[in-house]
């Protein structure tokens, strides 16, 4: 071991030590977050997520250009890291090589890969730099981002690659006997180009590059904790710990204990968020995929899910040291909170909870959890929310529906249809196989009632033994929960669970994806466990069994449909095919055209997350954006499978005197009933 080896060893120890202390500091920051013990179960499922989303970059590939580009850098990073380990070890122990531990062919294969991936990474970096410098990709811009950071990082990695190749090439020039042409082709070609350099000089240049590469590697490692590039360290653990792609049903809001004597409901500052949300902040590398699919952001509203995550990290890094006692608070720090100081109320209320951001995030960040926890504080803690939602809250409380309709009129749509209520059946000592949970829209809204009647007629034609709750039905509470009013939500949820228990309900059908999501996925939090089937799945199933008698004539006035995906049916419950198949079965000659944003990339109608009850004055209306997209397909009609989507699209199309009509899939089928 030479003095130079000793010096290098010292540098490695110092660099690793400094890195470790930074990691420890940041992990310590996570401790200020709230407990969340829902992250340690389902190890096989989490490993599967880690492999598909992390290692195989499943979500990264949703972008067809950035996907392969990032994958080349990521896989290159993994493979070249092996070379880096060998490099560092050889710097301390002269002559160290993996060749000692493996057969020659394997070592040559490994070395060949170093060259190959080094070149791929360089190519990908060039593309990435081009995209950054020409500002050709909109999602990479944004006031909240740190625009110089990526340029710095990309250049640094580029230098790492260049010094790696030069080190190898000049080594070949200096040691012609060790030149290995065919399994390090790129280094060898480079060596050929600089073969004119005398051996002595080549060894000096090799030495310079060797040291440069070594210092760049260790420097890069220590730059990470101070940069958005921390995602290199945080992303894989984040993907493993995330619940956004399972285990469990995605999109289920966390239960909140309202009985305890909590001082703080929801989140006002970073210490009220779960530690996992804080790790989300560390994992964000500001790629902007979330913001680029956000219906609020893309129609000109302030909300940007990326900004939310950047704000979480920014606030955490100033807040945590104060809470942990490692830094003194300043007047400026103490006067601020995450809410108001970083994120405004206006941003939070713009969210439709459509889950497009969560779906898109390549590292499984849950932006929605942060938004909804902040909303919970606004409503439960501070009673701050748009004034126009007060009537909705009060009506849900008073009348069990967000609209001021008489609860006694809830079952009125069924007058003369011979549909029993559960109470009537119970009185006669009878039972229904299926409960039709109609929902508030389906019960009171004039347009949605047509869907309700259509679905009921289909079930009657198919001989389904079903009943409704009539005046005993109440709002499932979804709007209240999504608007942050957990107290009102839990009151409504418990009432409905009690009503359903009274009739020992097992199987529920509904034409409303919000009712379905609540009853099926969130009511287990209150002991309500039912088999909840959306009408698209149910009708499709009945048709597949040949139980729905249809007219035989094939002539149809409307032959080109486009189907608009409901967020709560699609991204929340992964139902994409059933509604489309239902239309195809009802109209064998139909031409189903897709909008550009479809299925799990579908654009929200703008009504979710309580937006239905709020004014939309900022930017373009989301429903108008979606209606434009539907019209651009040239379809003669738009099909929906959600009463909220129905209202939103119908409103926009009607306001422009369009001939294009909106139909619920049940109406399409009912129209064809024999």
């Amino acid at each position: 071991m030479t003095a130079s080896n000793g010096l290098f060893a010292l540098i490695i120890v110092a660099a690793l030590g400094f890195f470790a202390s930074n990691v420890q500091r940041l992990v310590g920051f996570l401790r200020i977050g709230r407990l969340d013990d829902s992250r340690w179960d389902a190890i096989p499922r989490r490993l599967a997520n880690l492999i598909t989303i992390g290692v195989f970059q499943k979500k990264i590939f949703r972008d067809s250009i950035a996907g392969p580009m990032h994958a080349a850098i990521f896989w290159g990073f993994c493979i070249l890291s092996a070379g880096t380990v060998e490099f560092l070890a050889a710097g301390v122990v002269p002559g160290f090589s993996f060749a000692r531990f493996m057969p020659q062919w394997a070592y040559r294969f490994y070395m060949g890969n170093q060259d190959l991936w080094g070149a791929l990474v360089l190519g990908a970096l060039a593309l990435a730099l081009f995209r950054r410098l020409t500002k050709s990709v909109k999602r990479l811009q944004g006031a909240e981002t740190h625009p110089n950071d990526p340029l710095f990082i990309l250049s640094w990695i580029g230098l790492l690659m260049i010094t790696m190749f030069l080190t190898e090439a000049f080594h070949m020039v200096g040691h012609p006997e060790a030149a290995t042409p065919f399994y390090r082709p790129i280094s060898f070609a480079l060596a050929q180009m600089v073969a004119f350099v005398p051996v002595g000089a080549a060894n000096v240049i090799h030495g310079i590059n060797w040291w440069a590469h070594g210092l760049l590697v260790l420097g890069f490692l220590n730059y990470l904790p101070y940069s958005k590039h921390l995602h290199v360290v945080a992303s894989l653990p984040n993907v493993y710990l995330s619940n956004t792609s399972g285990p469990g049903q995605p999109g289920v809001m966390k239960y909140m204990d309202l009985e305890g004597d909590a001082e703080q409901f929801g989140a006002k500052d970073v210490e009220h968020l779960s530690w996992k949300s804080l790790l989300d902040g560390f994992s964000c590398t500001e790629c902007g995929r979330c913001t680029s699919v956000c219906p609020a952001n893309t129609t000109g509203k302030m909300l940007s899910p990326r900004k939310i995550m950047i704000n979480v990290r920014e606030r955490l890094e100033t807040r945590a040291p104060v809470l942990l006692g490692t830094a003194a608070g300043s007047a400026e720090h103490d006067a601020k909170t995450l809410l108001d100081g970083y994120i405004t109320e206006q941003e939070l209320w713009a969210c439709t909870t459509c889950r497009a951001c969560v779906q898109e995030c390549p590292v499984s960040i849950d932006q929605l959890e942060v938004i909804l926890e902040l909303r919970r504080n606004l409503v439960l803690g501070e009673s701050r929310f748009p004034e126009e939602v007060v009537p909705a809250f009060e009506s849900m409380e008073q009348r069990g529906s967000p609209w001021a309709f008489d609860p006694g009129e809830r079952g009125k749509w069924a007058d003369g249809m011979n549909i029993p209520t559960m109470a009537e059946l119970a009185e006669r000592g009878e039972r229904a196989d299926v409960l039709y949970f109609v929902g508030c829209m389906g019960s009171f809204d004039e347009r949605a009632k047509k869907t309700t009647v259509a679905f009921a007629k289909i079930m009657q034609a198919a001989g389904v033994n079903f009943a409704i709750l009539g005046r005993e039905e109440k709002c499932n509470g979804d709007p209240a929960r999504r608007m942050g009013n957990e107290y009102l939500y839990q009151t409504l949820a418990r009432e409905t669970v009690d009503t359903l228990a009274k009739y020992e309900v097992r199987t529920i059908v509904t034409a409303c994806p919000h009712c379905m999501h609540q009853l099926g996925n969130e009511y287990p939090q209150f002991g309500g466990n039912y088999d909840v089937i959306h009408h698209s799945v149910f009708i499709e199933h009945l048709m597949a069994q040949g139980r729905v008698p249809l007219r035989q004539d094939l002539h149809e006035a409307v032959s080109t449909f486009t189907y608009h995906d409901s967020c709560y049916l699609g991204r929340y419950n992964q139902i994409y095919d059933a509604p489309r198949d239902t239309i195809r079965r009802a109209l064998p000659v139909v031409n189903l055209v897709e909008m550009p944003r479809t299925k799990d990339k579908g654009l929200c109608c703008g009504a979710g997350g309580g937006r239905m009850w709020m004014e939309e004055t900022e930017g373009k209306r989301i429903n108008a954006e979606r209606a434009d997209e539907a019209l651009a397909t040239g379809a003669q009609a738009v099909a929906v499978a959600c009463p909220f989507c129905m209202t939103m699209l119908n409103d926009s199309l009607t306001s422009r005197d369009s001939d294009v009509k909106v139909y619920d899939i049940a109406e399409v089928v009912a129209e064809r009933l024999a």
Binding site: G381, S383, V390, F393
Partner: protein, 250 residues
């Protein structure tokens, strides 16, 4: 500063009303009850005064059966400090008898300002506020849309058709609140939790002598359905004829 707000529990006016079996009261089955809107504004105004001062106490008072405690609890969750329930199980429609009970409670309470809604949204009698002021022997300003209390003086504004009045009087005083002054806040969960621990006193209402009784309650006759007499230009003569001869408005 001590403030009192009188609150009435009323049925949801969006509900479908039926006359109960007694013939003098509505059938309450299926109806939802809440604080009368104007009383909600009055509570909000009082709470805002104490919040602005950073001191003072708001007492909310309601007369009726035990269920009115629910409504009082809501006012507490909005931010009122204590509640008094004047227990009275049988319904009373005589405003003076009710005002007598309220005045008896207020008399020795040392209240600087008493606020009521300008009327209860169900019965719309508009009498209680004035009676209470008279029985307490203090100044009274009705149906105000702005209120400012400073240096022992109440300054209030009342909307008139196309104009307004500004009225002043010394404290103690009674005021009734019109709409437009403040929206009743939606109670936060924090407020709801805090309300559970606030004092609620229940005592029998000392009603005054009943001076009149409600004899009978009837629903208005159902309006006849509208008629379509035609469309466009041709229908105009017939419309004019009907407006002249049947409706007699022309």
């Amino acid at each position: 500063m001590k403030l009192a707000v009188c609150i009435k529990r009323v049925p949801d006016m969006e509900g479908r009303f039926k006359v109960g079996p007694s013939g003098t009261a509505i059938d309450e089955t299926g109806l939802k009850f809440d604080m009368s809107d104007f009383d909600g504004y009055a509570a909000e105004v009082a709470i805002q005064i104490t919040e602005k001062l950073g001191a003072g106490e708001v007492t909310v008072i309601s007369l009726g059966p035990d269920v009115v405690q629910e409504t009082l609890r809501k006012a507490l969750s909005m931010g009122a400090h204590r509640a008094v329930h004047l227990k009275q199980d049988a319904p009373v429609s005589d405003g003076l008898a009710i005002a007598t009970a309220i005045a008896a409670e207020l008399k020795d309470g040392g209240y600087d300002l008493v606020l009521l809604g300008r009327m209860a949204v169900d019965t719309q009698n508009r009498s209680t506020g004035a009676f209470v002021a008279e029985l307490l022997g203090v100044p009274f300003i009705s149906a105000i849309s702005q209120l400012n209390v400073e240096g022992g003086v109440v300054k209030a504004r009342r909307e008139l058709e196309g104009s307004y009045e500004l009225i002043e009087c010394p404290l103690p005083a009674v005021v009734t609140i019109d709409e437009g002054i403040a929206r009743a806040r939606y109670p936060s969960l924090k407020g709801i939790m805090a309300a559970k621990k606030k004092p609620m006193e229940s005592k029998p209402a000392q009603l005054g002598a009943i001076t009149y009784q409600l004899e009978k309650l009837e629903l208005p006759a159902e309006r006849a359905a509208g008629r379509i007499i035609g469309e466009g230009r041709d229908a105009v003569p017939e419309l004019v004829r009907l407006l002249k001869e049947e409706a007699k408005v022309l």
